[in-house]
C-alpha cells in the first residue's frame, strides 16, 4: 500500500480532493464561449478551430479573433448529457456512425443550426452555443478527423476552410535530426501563407509584436504546466486526473486571456507543491493504488471516478496527448513564424530517440513507460473508444509493453468520449475489484525484480 496522508476533513466528504486553483482555469473556457457569442452578436467574426497544438491558435489570438473549438464543445455536449440529438442529426445526414464522436456531434450541431433553425443556434445547445463560423480551421495534427471533419462542415457553412500542416510526429523517420530544419522550413512556409490568408480574409494586418508576446507567454505557460506535471509524481499523488481535464484548456488551446492563465497555472503549481510538502492526496481516501488513464476520458461519466476514488484509486496521471511538453529554447530564433513552428513541432518530436533506446518502435508506448516509471504506477486504465482511432490504436501495445517491461497490469475498458451507451460503469466497478488483486500481485513481482514500487 502506498504511503498516504490522512484524508482531508470536509463538511460533506467528497471523494476527489479538488484543487482550488482548478476553478478559475475551468471557468476561462466557459467564459470564452460567452464572450465569443457576445462578440458575434456585435458583428465580430468567430473562428471554428480544431486543436492544432498552438500552430494556429496564436496567430488567431494575435489578431484578436474570437475562437471556439468544436472538439472542446463536443466534450461539453457529452458532459451535460446534451449530445444525443446532435449525434442523431449527423446520422440522419448520412455520416457513418462509427466516426469520431466529437465530429459527429458538431456536424449534427451544424446540421441543426443551418438546416433546422435557419442559421440560429439550436435552443438546447449548452453554454449558449457556438456562433456561425467565419473561418473553419482544420489541422493535420494527430488524426485524420481533424481535417476531414472540418471539410465536412463546409457542407453547412459558406465559410472558407484552411488546413494547417504538421509533419507526422513520433516516428523514427520523422525524428531524424537531419530532417529538423527541413520540417521547420515547411511549417514556416505554411504559416506565412496562413497568416497572409488571415490578413486577406479579415482585412487586418497581423500584429507581429503581439504574436511574439503570445509566443513568449505560451512558453511560460507550458513551462509552468510541465512543472505541475513533474510535481504530480509525488506520493500520494497531489492532483487527480479530473482536475487536469477540467483545467487543461488554457494550456491546450490557450483559452481565455493568456496572462491570466499563466497566473492561474502559477497558483496551481504553488497549490500542488504545497500539497506535496504536506503529503496531501488528490483523493479524500487513502491512496491504495496509483493509476494512469489512457487516453481520452468518458466525458459523459466523469462522476464515475468518484466511485474509484472511494476505493482508494488515485488517477495520478492521464491523457499524455493533452499535456504540453517542456517547451524548447526559442531564444536563438528571431522569426516569430519559426518560433511558432518549433514550439508546435516540439509536441512529440522529442519522444522517439527515447523510444528507440527502449527497443520499441511506438513512441506512445515509450511515453507511457516513462510516465509509469516516473509516477510509480500500479496499473493502467485503458479506455479504447468506439469512435476514435487515433486515441485507441496504440492501447494494445501500451498494455503489452507495460506488462512486459514493467510488470504493470492494465484494466481494459471499452467506451466512448461522447456516446454513453457503450460505457457500463457497474460492470467496470465489478471488474475493478478483481483488478485490485492483479495490481497487488504485480506489486510483489516488481519488487522481486528490484523495482522500487
Amino acid at each position: 500500500m502506498s504511503e498516504t496522508a490522512t484524508p482531508a476533513k470536509t463538511e460533506q466528504k467528497r471523494a476527489i480532493n479538488r484543487l482550488k486553483s482548478v476553478y478559475p482555469l475551468r471557468n476561462m473556457v466557459q467564459q470564452d464561449y460567452v464572450t465569443t457569442l457576445q462578440a458575434s452578436n456585435e458583428g465580430k467574426p468567430t473562428v471554428w478551430s480544431m486543436l492544432n497544438y498552438w500552430e494556429g491558435d496564436l496567430p488567431l489570438k494575435a489578431m484578436g479573433l474570437n475562437i471556439v473549438y468544436p472538439e472542446n464543445y463536443a466534450t461539453l455536449l457529452a458532459a451535460t448529457g446534451a449530445a444525443e440529438p446532435f449525434l442523431d442529426a449527423s446520422d440522419s445526414d448520412g455520416f457513418p456512425t462509427h466516426m469520431c464522436g466529437y465530429g459527429r456531434s458538431t456536424i449534427g450541431y451544424a446540421y441543426r443550426m443551418m438546416k433546422e433553425n435557419g442559421g440560429k443556434i439550436p435552443p438546447d445547445a449548452p453554454l449558449g452555443g457556438m456562433a456561425k463560423p467565419a473561418l473553419l480551421l482544420g489541422s493535420g495534427i494527430i488524426c485524420d478527423a481533424r481535417f476531414k471533419w472540418f471539410q465536412s462542415l463546409a457542407r453547412y457553412f459558406d465559410a472558407p476552410e484552411w488546413c494547417l500542416e504538421m509533419p507526422m510526429m513520433a516516428t523514427y523517420e520523422g525524428s531524424e535530426p537531419e530532417l529538423e530544419d527541413y520540417q521547420v522550413k515547411f511549417l514556416v512556409k505554411e504559416l506565412k501563407d496562413f497568416i497572409a490568408f488571415l490578413e486577406k480574409l479579415f482585412k487586418q494586418k497581423m500584429d507581429w509584436a503581439k504574436l511574439e508576446e503570445l509566443i513568449d507567454l505560451a512558453v511560460k505557460i507550458h513551462e509552468t504546466t510541465y512543472q505541475i506535471s513533474e510535481a504530480r509524481k509525488a506520493i500520494p499523488g497531489p492532483m487527480h486526473a479530473t482536475d487536469f481535464w477540467s483545467s487543461m484548456p488554457p494550456s491546450l488551446f490557450f483559452a481565455g486571456d493568456m496572462k491570466v492563465a499563466l497566473k492561474c497555472y502559477q497558483d496551481m503549481l504553488a497549490e500542488v507543491r504545497e500539497r506535496v510538502n504536506n503529503k496531501v492526496s488528490g483523493i479524500n481516501y487513502p491512496e491504495r493504488y496509483r493509476l494512469i488513464f489512457a487516453e481520452l476520458p468518458p466525458w459523459h461519466s466523469l462522476k464515475f471516478f468518484d466511485k474509484l476514488a472511494e476505493m482508494g484509486w488515485n488517477f495520478v496521471f492521464e491523457s499524455f496527448g493533452y499535456h504540453a511538453p517542456k517547451p524548447p529554447d526559442l531564444s536563438k530564433y528571431s522569426d516569430p513564424c519559426e518560433k511558432l513552428a518549433r514550439l508546435s513541432r516540439n509536441f512529440m518530436f522529442n519522444v522517439f530517440p527515447e523510444a528507440k533506446a527502449e527497443g520499441i518502435q511506438n513512441p506512445i508506448v515509450e511515453t507511457y513507460l516513462k510516465i509509469a516509471r516516473g509516477f510509480k504506477a500500479d496499473g493502467f486504465f485503458l479506455h479504447p473508444l468506439i469512435s476514435c482511432r487515433a486515441a485507441s490504436c496504440s492501447l494494445r501495445t501500451v498494455q503489452h509493453w507495460e506488462q512486459e517491461k514493467l510488470d504493470i497490469p492494465s484494466l481494459w475498458v471499452e467506451g466512448d468520449i461522447i456516446d454513453k451507451r457503450v460505457f457500463n460503469p457497474q460492470e467496470v466497478l465489478a471488474r475493478a475489484e478483481a483488478f485490485e488483486q492483479t495490481m497487488d500481485h504485480y506489486r510483489k513481482v516488481r519488487k522481486s525484480k528490484g523495482l522500487d514500487w
Partner: protein, 390 residues
C-alpha cells in the same frame, strides 16, 4: 456471365489465388522483394533499384486472431488483417516493408510491423502531408528523397537517374495498359467481368512491372478476341471506396444483375489513372503521388487562399473525375463501399452522394468489416438497389 477463360486471364487467376508464389521464385533467384502498404510509397524507386515492389494486402477469408494481441478492434480491419497475416508469417518472402502516413492506422501499421513482425527487416515510413499546397509538395519530395537514401543503403548503391527514368516509363506503360483494359468495358456488353478485372489488377501488384505489362498485353489481346456474347445487364455500376482486393463484392453485385464497369478504388483506377510526368525526377514523383492520386486521405484544397467558399464548386473540383467516369462508362448507379472505421472515406460519403444526386446518379452506401462473411447481409440491399435501376 462471361466464361471461356483465356490464357492471360487464366494466369491472372492463378496469381490472384497465390500472390506470393512468383515473389518466392524471384527471391530464390536473388531478387529483393519490397512490400508496400497503400498507394503512396513511390514504387518507381523500388523498381529502379533493381528490387521488386509487392503491394501488401490483407485476406478477407482469414479470421483475424493474432492481431488482437497488438491492435484494438475499432480500427481499420483491412490493416488489422495485414498485421495478423504478418504475425502469422505469411509475408516471409519480403526483404522489406514500406509504409506511408496515408491515414492514422496506415501509419501505425508499419510501426506495429516493426515491433511484432519479424519478416522484412528493412522498413521505412514515408510521411505524406495532408494537403496539396505547394509547400506540401516540396516537403513530400524531401520525404521521397529520404526514402531514396534509405533504400540506397539497403541496395548498397546509388539510384541512377537513367534507371529512375526507365522505371517511370515502365510503370507509366502499365498505367496506360490498365486504362486500355478499362476502355474495353465501356461497351454495352463488356466481355470482361469485374471479377476478372480485379484478378488482373491484384496480379499487377504481385509481379515485377515488366511481367505485369506482359500479362496486361496478353489479357487485352485475349479479351478483344473473345468470341462470347454476354447479355446486357440491368445496370451499369461504378464501385467507389477504399481498398477492395477480393472478388466477392463484385460477385455479389454481378449476381444481382448488374455489371460493374468501372471503379474508383485503390485496387483499380485510383492506382493507375495518373502517370509520372517528365522529367521523371523526385519532384515529378511527389506531384504524381500527392496531387494526382485522388484519394480522400488528401485534403484537396480546391479553393486555396480564396476567401469566398462555394460548396458546389468545391465538390465539382474534388469529384469531377467521377463525373467523367460516369459519363464515359455510361454508369447509371454508384455503389459506395467502405471498410468499417475508415474515417477518410466515411467523411466523404454524404458529400459524394450529394454530388451524385446533382448528376442524377442514384447511389447506395454499404459498409463491411473486410471479411467475406460480412458481405452476406449486404446482398439484399444491393439487389434492391439494382432493381430500382432496372
Amino acid at each position: 456471365m462471361v466464361t471461356a477463360t483465356t490464357k492471360g486471364l487464366s494466369r491472372a487467376h492463378e496469381i490472384y489465388a497465390d500472390r506470393g508464389r512468383r515473389m518466392r521464385e524471384l527471391r530464390k533467384a536473388g531478387k529483393k522483394i519490397i512490400g508496400y502498404i497503400c498507394l503512396y510509397p513511390p514504387i518507381e524507386i523500388i523498381t529502379a533499384m533493381g528490387m521488386v515492389p509487392f503491394r501488401i494486402f490483407g485476406d478477407m477469408s482469414e479470421p483475424i486472431t493474432a492481431a488482437d494481441q497488438v491492435s484494438t478492434t475499432v480500427v481499420c480491419p483491412f490493416l488489422r488483417s495485414i498485421i495478423d497475416l504478418g504475425i502469422k508469417g505469411k509475408f516471409d518472402f519480403l526483404d522489406g516493408a514500406v509504409g506511408a502516413h496515408t491515414c492514422d492506422i496506415g501509419m501505425t501499421t508499419i510501426i506495429a510491423w516493426r515491433d511484432y513482425i519479424k519478416d522484412a527487416p528493412f522498413t521505412h515510413l514515408i510521411d505524406v502531408p495532408h494537403t496539396d499546397h505547394a509547400p506540401a509538395v516540396d516537403y513530400f519530395e524531401g520525404q521521397i528523397n529520404f526514402f531514396k537514401k534509405h533504400i540506397e543503403e539497403l541496395a548498397g548503391e546509388k539510384l541512377a537517374e537513367d534507371k529512375l527514368k526507365k522505371a517511370c516509363e515502365l510503370h507509366n506503360k502499365q498505367r496506360k495498359l490498365v486504362r486500355d483494359l478499362y476502355d474495353l468495358r465501356k461497351s454495352d456488353t463488356p466481355k470482361l467481368t469485374s471479377m476478372e478485372n480485379l484478378e488482373v489488377m491484384v496480379s499487377l501488384f504481385s509481379l515485377p512491372v515488366e511481367e505485369g505489362n506482359e500479362l496486361l498485353e496478353e489479357v487485352i489481346k485475349d479479351v478483344k478476341e473473345r468470341s462470347i456474347k454476354p447479355s446486357r445487364k440491368k445496370a451499369r455500376l461504378m464501385v467507389w471506396g477504399p481498398v477492395f482486393d477480393n472478388t466477392s463484392l463484385y460477385e455479389l453485385i454481378e449476381s444481382a444483375g448488374a455489371d460493374v464497369v468501372v471503379d474508383d478504388t485503390c485496387v483499380g483506377t485510383r492506382a493507375f489513372w495518373a502517370d509520372v510526368k517528365a522529367p521523371y525526377d523526385l519532384h515529378a514523383l511527389a506531384q504524381r503521388y500527392l496531387v494526382d492520386i485522388k484519394c480522400p486521405r488528401t485534403y484537396r484544397d480546391t479553393q486555396h487562399q480564396e476567401i469566398e467558399r462555394d460548396y458546389d464548386k468545391d465538390l465539382d473540383s474534388r469529384f469531377n473525375y467521377i463525373k467523367k467516369a460516369v459519363t464515359d462508362w455510361h454508369v447509371n448507379g454508384v455503389v459506395l463501399q467502405s471498410v468499417k472505421y475508415c474515417d477518410t472515406h466515411g467523411y466523404e460519403v454524404p458529400n459524394l452522394r450529394h454530388y451524385l444526386d446533382t448528376l442524377g446518379i442514384p447511389s447506395i452506401y454499404i459498409e463491411h468489416d473486410y471479411s467475406e462473411r460480412s458481405l452476406a447481409p449486404i446482398k439484399t440491399r444491393v439487389e434492391a438497389f439494382v432493381e430500382t435501376l432496372g
